[in-house]
């Protein structure tokens, strides 16, 4: 106690400082108040607006891509949900997060359970575990620890059900559904139909050039009218690409309350905020779903072609309605499954498929009906004959002698065999080269080129789907340019039988034969028949368009038609051995030499294959009042009459059978709407047609896949946009 009473220290030293300190403290707090005044009162409204913007955001509403149907209303491309599983690293593996003092372990790890449910193999499991641990090095609010990662794409439904059922034990796993393009017929018609894919960086950069962020809404609309965003789906090839602007639809948007982690908030608090925002916050733009397309193609016919082409590795076939130019089938082989590329099966599958497709020497990605140009061989002879007839340089009834070969200068030109004395009719029907070699110098190359051009060969047809090859119809001047003036008569000889520099696409040839059949009208090929809304109303109907009228004398055309009839139906015709008596087909076989020389030391098997001729058959049916033109090309298939012609005949037979069945089915409906079942007579007719066809019958209304809920039963489908063609 005593030391408590001794004199304490003197405080006078500090006296003068207190006032200063009080002043400094006061001023410091005053500064804070001034700053608060500036933030809250002066700029308060501005910050309030920003805060509002942070919380209430314009959220896009997805749209659905249009459905593509075939001529009968069968769905060729639609969208289906794909279930993907995302996991939030910090939630599935809380143990991986940094441990803080005072925080007890919240939840047990659910990752092992999730991995087991997803049937991940040990390799994948290790990979994702490492990724999750990496993400959880920090667990601050914006660390990757809280960003979901995709673990599995396109899960089977039973696994989805399992996940949902045991959601309690699988904290942090989320199943999201994402629309994926779905092609129920898989490989069938993939080239004309195309596939969709995620938009790539280059394409996106075209729609969103530099300075996109600073553009006004109008400029953006101009640059990117369809509103592409990263990760969007875009048509990559075929109709999907060419008709993208119709199919795509337009996104909508609405205002939603969003928190800092991008999650939507609902409930009274969110509603209150939206209400405070007034009319502007409740604004909403409905999405416009994409337009549906009705194609001219008949998938059943496509199936028939696939069956007919099954024995061969590569080739193509085109079926076109000669009265309208509507394409009933476009088939190209080899093909691929667009579902693999559309993303439903996951990104790994896409990469794998692309690797396979681009290394395949048969070039499956190429649409050979449109993009592939081949030497037409003898199928070109009708045009050479027409050229000779048009300018009356040759009398068709005059005979030339075929000894099986012809020497011209130092070269010897061969024929298939010795035909003896042939006139023009026989030369076409029996496919005699020598006859055409002999008349070629009189006809000249430029006359042939003119006629070929009249029929649309050597030019793009304007189908508008897939990059089109124009083919080539050489003229004298073309050869002059190419060979520096050293024109040889041999060029003309080769051209007259569709060899040499002459190339056509199967589609061109089909349209040209269509024109031969219909009296000279070259139609624009048509693949999309109508644009429809999603509830089946026709928005736009596309009538047939005539591209050009071939200026040829009808008599000459009739002469050629007769000769083409002879190819199939005369004893000596090249296709006579494989003809089908019940079908009156007119056509022309072709066996085109490929001119392959093994200069690169190819594998002998490969060289053998590549050296084989292309087998062609170009035809129309019925010969007297033609409906369809069919062109079949079997690449390196060998001989046209034995390889290609039977295929074309089988296609025509199938077409006939399908049509007959349809008519039989539709007739009783017209009489009695209550009767859905075909009358015995119609059923008998259908059976008879099947028996006639002899081909394995497929149930006409059942696709190869389980019924899609979106698919309309053909009987109840929307009315066709235009009255059906005459039956």
């Amino acid at each position: 106690v005593s030391n408590l009473l001794v004199p304490r220290s003197d405080v006078s030293e500090f006296r003068k400082r207190y006032r200063w300190m009080a002043l400094v403290a006061f001023l410091a707090f005053a500064a804070i108040v001034v700053r608060l005044f500036q933030l809250q009162v002066v700029k308060g409204a501005e910050y309030a607006a920003q805060a509002h913007e942070n919380v209430i955001r314009r959220v896009t509403i997805p749209t659905t891509r249009g459905i593509i149907r075939d001529a009968q209303g069968k769905i060729l491309a639609s969208s289906r949900p794909s279930f993907n599983v995302l996991v939030v690293p910090g939630r599935v593996m809380p143990s991986a997060r940094p441990q803080k003092p005072g925080r007890r372990q919240e939840e047990a790890d659910s990752w092992e359970r999730i991995a087991a449910t997803l049937r991940l193999n040990p390799d994948e499991r290790a990979r994702f575990s490492a990724r999750i641990k990496d993400a959880c090095v920090t667990d601050e609010d914006r660390s990757p620890c809280w960003h979901p990662i995709v673990v599995r794409e396109d899960l089977a439904r039973d696994i989805v059900a399992e996940l949902k059922q045991h959601a309690q034990e699988m904290q942090g796993a989320e199943v999201v559904s994402q629309p994926v393009r779905y092609y129920p017929y898989k490989n069938l018609g993939v080239h004309m139909l195309g596939y969709t894919a995620e938009i790539d960086a280059d394409t996106l950069a075209r729609y969103r050039p530099k300075g996109w962020e600073s553009m006004t809404a109008e400029e953006r609309q101009k640059q990117n009218p369809l509103g592409y965003e990263p990760g969007d789906v875009i048509g990559a090839t075929g109709v999907e690409r060419a008709w993208e602007s119709y199919l795509r639809g337009q996104r909508g948007w609405e205002k939603r309350v969003v928190d800092a982690r991008g999650r939507y908030r609902t409930g009274p608090e969110a509603d209150r905020l939206l209400d405070e925002g007034g009319a502007e916050a409740h604004a909403r733009q409905e999405p416009l779903s994409g337009r549906d397309l009705r194609l001219t193609v008949d998938i059943e016919l496509e199936q028939a072609i696939e069956r007919a082409m099954r024995p061969y590795q590569a080739g193509s076939a085109v079926v076109v309605d000669v009265r309208t130019g509507r394409l009933l089938a476009l088939y190209s082989k080899p093909d691929y499954d667009p579902n693999d590329l559309a993303g439903g099966a996951g990104h790994d599958r896409i990469r794998e498929t692309f690797n396979k497709l681009y290394t395949d020497p048969l070039r499956p990605m190429l649409d050979k009906t449109v993009s592939g140009a081949f030497q037409p061989g003898s199928t070109f002879k009708p045009f050479s004959a027409l050229a000779a007839l048009e300018d009356k340089v040759v009398d068709p009834s005059e005979h030339e002698r075929c000894d099986g070969f012809l020497s011209y200068g130092r070269r010897i030109f061969h024929c298939t065999h010795v035909h003896g004395k042939v006139n023009m009719h026989d030369a076409i029907a029996q496919s005699c080269n020598i006859y055409f070699f002999k008349i070629a110098p009189l006809v000249t190359m430029d006359r042939i080129a003119r006629i070929a051009t009249e029929f649309g060969l050597g030019q793009k047809t304007g189908i508008g789907v897939n990059p089109e090859s124009p083919g080539r119809i050489p003229t004298r001047s073309w050869y002059a340019l190419r060979y520096k003036g050293a024109f040889q008569i041999g060029f003309t000889l080769n051209t007259s039988i569709g060899q040499g520099a002459t190339t056509v696409t199967p589609l061109q040839l089909a349209l040209a034969y269509g024109a031969i059949a219909n009296g000279g009208t070259v139609y624009s090929p048509q693949i999309v028949r109508a644009v429809e809304t999603s509830d089946g109303n026709v928005v736009q109907d596309f009538p047939p368009r005539v591209r050009q009228k071939a200026r040829v004398n009808p008599q000459n055309l009739a002469y050629v038609n007769d000769a083409l009839y002879g190819v199939v139906n005369e004893q000596k015709g090249t296709a006579f051995p494989v003809r089908e008596a019940s079908l009156e087909i007119a056509g022309k076989t072709g066996t085109a030499q490929t001119g392959y020389v093994n200069v690169n030391n190819d594998d002998p098997k490969r060289a053998w294959y590549l050296a084989r001729d292309h087998a062609w058959f170009a035809s129309y049916w019925p010969a007297k009042s033609p409906e369809i033109a069919v062109v079949v090309l079997v690449e390196h298939g060998g001989s046209g009459p034995t390889i290609a012609a039977p295929i074309a005949i089988q296609i025509i037979r199938e077409y006939h059978r399908i049509e007959t069945t349809r008519i039989a089915k539709s007739q009783p409906k017209g009489k009695d709407a209550n009767k859905d079942a075909p009358t015995p007579k119609a059923a008998a007719a259908a059976v008879k047609a099947d028996a006639d066809g002899g081909a394995p019958a497929t149930p006409p209304d059942l696709g190869p896949l389980p019924p899609d809920p979106l698919a309309l039963p053909p009987d109840l489908g929307p009315d066709p946009p235009t009255p059906p063609e005459e039956r």
Binding site: F14, L36, F37, Q40, A51, P101, G102, D259, A260, E269
Partner: protein, 386 residues
């Protein structure tokens, strides 16, 4: 005959001189702080949403300890001054051995299920040590720099140890408290001027020749957080938006959108004021800032009326602690100061921080309650002079 009150004054009986103003101000801040924490963490993950309850526990514990500290005559602390300081330093050293590494720095010592931060308590120990030094120093006039070497060493040791953790914010607070206490003494003007000049020369030399590039980089980021938009600049930006959105009267309790929708980072530790400002607006902030100003000014008043130098330095030290914490935190949240991790007294969640402030207020109360004690020396002096 002396009245009872006189007796109380003379013998330093505390209960009759209870400082109601200090008590009520601190209580008001504590209550508002807890309520605000409730709002701040109401939407957070489960682990965070109980923080306000923990805060209440800490406040109760702090209140009890503060009361104990206030009841014991502060002159006993004077005797223990250097011992307490030594204990604090030992704990700081222990951090390096036992410390838990969190986000690249170790500040915590884990005892049982909870950890504590020795650096927080070191602030109080430093105040007591400085007060003892100045109390014992016979010199009272015209101090030169030489006379401040002792206190400087006292401050430098913990500052260095805390910088090593590294914990820039706490080290800064220690230095500022030391500077405040120094300014309390009568330093010669010449000394001050020479100090400033020396600092002015040393900085560019250090910058050019001593610091390595990555160190410079760190300092630059520290000085200009806006450049680091994805890091602390993002925090500062959202804090400012939230405060500004409060306007005059705020959006209402628990209705601040930026907090409710998680745009505010560290809303319970470094940025609770932003939540408060968004909920209560400018008027609410005015009340809060007024409370802090009052607390600091009251501490200065307690210092001014303290009966000895130990008490005065103690009061100024605690006042400086509260002032620098509040000023730096408010300045950082409102965007006039760089983002440094400094807590807002009684607002930020955290056991060590709450306990430190409560103990500090206990010390203030202690000095305040004993301010009427008249030195026997002076009394006897008066008596003898008569």
């Amino acid at each position: 005959m002396r009245s009872r009150r006189d007796a109380a004054r003379f013998f330093g009986m505390p209960r009759d001189n209870f400082d109601w103003a200090l008590f009520l101000t601190a209580s008001a801040l504590a209550v508002i702080g807890v309520v605000n924490l409730y709002s701040a963490t109401s939407v957070s993950r489960a682990a965070l949403s109980e923080i306000y309850i923990q805060q209440v526990y800490w406040l109760v514990l702090g209140g009890i300890l503060g009361a104990v500290v206030a009841v014991i005559d502060y002159r006993h602390y004077e005797r223990l001054g250097y011992i307490l300081y030594g204990v604090g330093v030992v704990f700081l050293l222990l951090v390096f051995i036992l410390g838990k590494d969190i986000r690249g720095s170790s500040r915590w010592i884990q005892i049982g299920s909870f950890g504590f931060q020795p650096s927080e308590f070191m602030k109080l120990f430093l105040i007591i040590a400085l007060a003892k030094y100045l109390h014992d120093d016979p010199k009272t006039e015209d101090r030169s720099l030489k006379d401040l070497v002792g206190p400087a060493i006292l401050a430098a040791i913990p500052t260095f140890l805390i910088l090593k953790q590294p914990d820039l914010g706490t080290a800064l607070i220690l230095l500022l408290m030391f500077a405040t206490v120094c300014l309390l003494t009568k330093i010669k003007w010449q000394s001050l001027v020479s100090l400033v000049v020396a600092f002015g020369i040393a900085t560019p030399v250090l910058w050019t020749y001593v610091l390595k590039d990555y160190q410079k980089q760190r300092i630059l980021v520290f000085l200009n957080p806006e450049a680091n938009l994805l890091g602390s600049g993002w925090h500062a930006h959202h804090a400012r938006v939230a405060i500004g959105a409060g306007g005059w009267t705020g959006e209402g309790f628990m209705r601040g959108t930026q907090n409710q929708f998680l745009f505010l980072p560290d809303q319970h530790s470094d940025f609770p004021f932003a939540v408060f400002a968004e909920d209560w607006g400018f008027l609410g902030c005015l009340v809060l800032v007024a409370l802090y100003s009052f607390l600091v000014l009251w501490a200065i008043r307690i210092a001014a009326t303290a009966k000895d130098r130990f008490g005065a330095v103690l009061a100024i030290g605690v006042g400086a602690l509260i002032f620098w914490h509040a000023f730096f935190n408010l300045g950082m949240v409102t965007g006039i100061l760089p983002v440094v991790g400094v807590t807002l007294p009684l607002f930020s969640a955290g056991g060590s921080s709450v306990l430190t402030i409560m103990l500090g207020i206990g010390l203030l109360m202690n000095v305040s309650m004993r301010r009427f004690y008249v030195s026997p020396a002076r009394t006897t002096g008066l008596l003898t002079s008569i």
